[in-house]
Symmetry: C2
Subunit: 461 residues, 2 copies
């Protein structure tokens, strides 16, 4: 029988609480099409409320088309096709987590930080602190480029951790990388032709193309993008520190070549510093932004990999020449990040919590990484491991002769979530077949061992 | 002498705290170019810290180019042109509030809700509640259309307060109206030609044009947009409930005509329900969305006028046909609003605080409105008052023969901030001259009386 805790209704009328609870169960898929609801009398008795209350709730559900009343049979959850008209339910996946469909035993594809290790209590404490310290300010207008205190804190972090010399005036804060791409597409100008990396993160190209920026996919070599391919383009979007998903790190010589290309062709380089915070071997290279002498590099980064992608917070650093263009053309856009998040992140950065968090996570990820690497090294189905010593993922070559599509399908039916390198490629796809992208940050190493037999079965030749 | 509270430095080294404090004073304009900083010894004594600490702070400022050391004279704040190279300071206005430039005695232009009347403590309480109830969830991914609980709460609010029947599945949450315009520009498709109201809110046209959607400005008559002007367009962006800034309310007959136009031409109508919450006379008209039978109306609204523009939260309601298009083309965009704000707003709505807040604000605004109206009725410089009985602004016709530009300039020099109807018009601008847009929501009526003589002087013929 449907059970809802009516004591949780607060100030809401009982019928409304009941109606909303049932509706949520229908929308979330907990109640399915054609499920019969209990009779009004039975439900009233079960929940200890009046029959009229249940009747009112059912009536509201009927009027919205969520349930249908069939004479002499009872009240049933509406069929999908009926519901679709007013409220398209077909996209269950959108709300329900995937495991409602098919329990996921092992997820190697999810590219998310290890949420459990985030210092929640510190973040909550800072949020409470901001609420009492500057609460009034949270409702005053935010400068369009973002709060000055946050931009100063970001500039300090860039200087301290990456040796970048950046003024807070060059920084524009925005609601995540995708929103920044939307701004960048406008900033590049109408005649821009943009080169993007291939393989690469597909949303980058997708968003620029949505905004009518013609994109040219450029094949990566082992150093990143070769300037020989940049003859017909005016801008370039790259991740030289640690490319996702190939892991390629662009060496200093190639970086100089890219800057030379930009200088000689008045090109713009967007340096997307995604996945650059965690490096486990070798020395970090200077960012393109910090060795740029011709104001052609736009640096961008987010806190998705270090804090959480659901925080929706990113920033870009514009060189003076492009800052001027931004001021003229795009400055009218209001800042998309609420003041509260900006205040909290600003304190999280300037009080040293961010640096300590990165330091702690680096240690944790190093251990996890070793565990996951050693697991794959022991697997018979592994042909090679391509690990560049950085980032929250590495590549695993497979001996399997089955196509990636076949493997993907079989994996799904077994409850295993996989990402293939070929999914990220649009050119010469076959070159990238039979290579797994293993995202280990949110992976539980035990789940690997527990499902080792399943993996062997899946990848058997 | 520069005074900073070093006890506030927290865990930061003293030199770093001092350096950051001085830098912030320079960036915010509190310290100006060529201002001399105190000698190291004097400042050290004044603040009770060591000379080395001050020296380290000054050194950091010098290395960043924020200050310059002149031999045998001292340390000075760097000149603008020097600073501009690395950190363009020219845009002081961006951070400093306007009153740093010229004290504002009276602001009739600021289109902001009355922040002081917002139930801060309730909002803070709900935020704390969310932090302890669902804190872990705040870092899990948010569905791309927004949290289901928030979308249900919005659907309920639309039903209860506006009689709209909307499924939460039709709702897309986004970081403010401007972000929604960016999505809409993409949703309209590549061949779209959009009609926008003239006069109108200039950012609407600007954002669509930024995204290469050709825009046709359509002159408003006393009922809003006339369908005779819609021959060559495929979509229409309007505010039929209460147009900003003319205040025009589109009557039901005209609404039917607009829907007929859409039906017969497969047109799309974007119903921007900005400034529709406060109505002081007459009955509210049904929204276009609720009388649309051909799936051609997209309804959108924000919480900027009712809660705060700095919350950056808006939503749109897509009819099934366009929801399908959204799912196919734009669903890949992540939701731009952080989970915390969504959770808090969801509770604010569903626990009845929002409705009560609107009710309370309506009473407050009614009183303020009457006060401001009666002030202007008593002014000799007023030719007519055009008040449609709704919204947070009304129009005041002026007897003055000076041009709006002249008046604006003179007003600025007197510390009065004005908005003219002609600023919002691109067609037949002269028709809209000598009309003030009086935004009264955040205005203190006393400040009007105190500055009555100034206004008489300003608008004297």
């Amino acid at each position: 029988m449907l059970t809802y805790q009516l004591e949780k209704k607060g100030r809401m009328p009982a019928y409304e609480f009941l109606y909303k609870s049932i509706r949520e169960d229908i929308l979330s898929g907990r109640l399915c099409a054609d499920d019969k609801l209990p009779s009004k009398r039975a439900l009233a008795q079960h929940l200890g409320i009046s029959v009229t209350t249940v009747e009112n709730a059912y009536q509201q559900l009927i009027s919205e088309g969520c349930v249908v009343s069939r004479p002499r049979s009872g009240v049933f959850v509406a069929k999908l096709d009926r519901l679709e008209k007013n409220c398209p339910l077909q996209q269950k996946a959108e709300n329900s987590t995937k495991d409602e469909k098919e329990p996921i035993l092992l997820d190697l594809a999810q590219n998310m930080p290890d949420a459990e290790s985030f210092p929640f209590s510190t973040w909550a404490h800072l949020t409470r602190e901001v609420l009492s310290d500057v609460f009034g300010e949270l409702f005053s207008p935010v400068p369009n480029q973002g709060l000055m205190s946050l931009r100063c804190a970001i500039a300090d972090d860039l200087r301290e951790r990456k040796g970048m010399s950046v003024s807070p005036h060059q920084i524009v804060v925005g609601a995540g990388a995708e929103y920044l791409y939307l701004l960048l597409a406008q900033l590049l100008g109408r005649d821009a032709v943009l080169a993007v990396e291939d393989p690469g993160y597909p949303k980058i190209k997708k968003i620029y193309e949505q905004l009518n920026v013609p994109c040219v996919s450029v094949l990566l070599d082992e150093q990143g993008v070769d300037t020989a391919y940049l003859k017909a383009v005016s801008a370039l979007h790259i991740s030289p520190s640690h490319h996702y998903p190939t892991g390629v790190v662009t060496p200093i010589g190639r970086r100089q070549e890219l800057l030379k290309w930009a200088r000689e062709n008045k090109g713009i380089i967007i340096e997307d510093d995604y996945d650059s915070e965690f490096r486990f071997s070798g020395r970090p290279l200077p960012t393109l932004q910090s060795i740029d002498r011709c104001e052609c590099v736009i640096y961008m980064n987010t806190f998705s990999q270090t804090i959480s992608p659901s925080m929706r917070m990113g920033f870009m650093v514009l060189p003076p020449r492009l800052l001027k263009r931004y001021k003229e053309q795009l400055y009218f856009y209001s800042c998309t990040v609420p003041a509260l998040e900006q205040q909290v992140l600003s304190r999280f950065l300037s009080e040293g919590f961010y640096e300590r968090h990165i330091f702690r996570m680096k240690k944790k990820y190093r251990i996890k990484r070793e565990e996951v690497l050693s697991f794959f090294k022991g697997c018979k189905f592994v042909k090679f491991i391509d690990d560049k010593g950085a980032g929250l993922h590495f590549l695993v070559g497979l001996r399997s002769k089955k196509s990636d599509g076949e493997l993907q399908k079989k994996a799904e039916s077994m409850g295993i979530n996989l990402a293939f390198l070929s999914d990220f490629a649009s050119l010469e796809k076959s070159r990238y077949e039979h290579i797994l992208v293993v995202n280990y940050a949110s992976l539980k190493p035990d789940s690997l061992k527990e499902n080792a037999a399943l993996l062997e079965e899946l990848f058997s030749e």
